[in-house]
């Protein structure tokens, strides 16, 4: 199934992109997606421990199961305000 990724801040700079589509196994969870990302984007590997994930604009835990077409945000620690 296809997942739409969104990169921000330092992760956007390290990967050189804001958006990316990626294929994962049907029923994959965020934690599996994180493993795929670590292989595909080695530069962000060391940052993944502090990255939060969102699915369709809501924060989720690593156990969250993904659906085809989900928009997943890779969110470094936030610093707005």
């Amino acid at each position: 199934m296809r997942i739409n990724l969104k990169f921000f801040g330092q992760l956007r700079e390290l990967t050189g992109r804001s958006d990316e589509q990626i294929e994962v196994e049907p029923g994959a969870k965020i934690e599996e997606l994180a493993r795929v990302l670590a292989e595909r984007f080695p530069k962000i590997n060391k940052h993944l421990a502090v990255v939060s994930f969102s699915v369709n604009s809501e924060y989720v835990r690593k156990e969250k199961q993904l659906q085809d077409g989900d928009e997943v945000g890779l969110l470094p620690p936030i610093s707005g305000g």
Partner: protein
């Protein structure tokens, strides 16, 4: 009312958004670009947002504050893009019949904003640049 904008924040426009004759108190919070981070002089700042999600989170904060305190109106505006020293990055106005609730609700909104709204800032120094180390977002909101 919540908004992400790329132009200068008008404090007058923010206050107009919370105009209400039943509100005897209005608390206004402004966050501005500071000229230092620790012992490093900051020259300017870039703000980046996950626009869609940031607006969703700001609307959730507005709703929570209105449910928890007798607030008549709230306006939350955050600016994105490049900002110079002293410029306003965030404005929060809370109108309530009484000051105690207006202060408490405003405090809740800015504190929760910093823990939940997906916005990032990058500082520019004389000798380089760097993303500001922030909060790992709270899952509660």
């Amino acid at each position: 009312m919540v908004e992400l904008i790329s132009k200068k924040i008008s404090v007058d426009a923010v206050l107009e958004q919370v105009a209400d004759t039943s509100a005897g108190a209005v608390v206004l919070f402004l966050g501005r670009v500071r000229d230092r981070n620790g012992n490093k002089a900051v020259l300017s700042m870039d703000y980046e947002a996950y626009d869609k999600m940031a607006v969703t989170k700001m609307e959730q904060l507005e709703k929570m504050a209105c449910e928890h305190w007798p607030v008549s109106k709230i306006c939350i505006v955050h600016r994105i893009g490049s900002l110079q020293l002293g410029e306003v990055s965030i404005a929060i106005a809370v109108a309530s019949p009484h000051r105690k609730d207006a202060f408490a609700a405003c405090r809740f909104v800015i504190d929760s904003f910093k823990e939940t709204v997906p916005i990032w800032k990058k500082e520019y120094f004389q000798d380089g640049e760097g993303w500001v180390e922030g909060f790992k977002p709270s899952l509660i909101v």
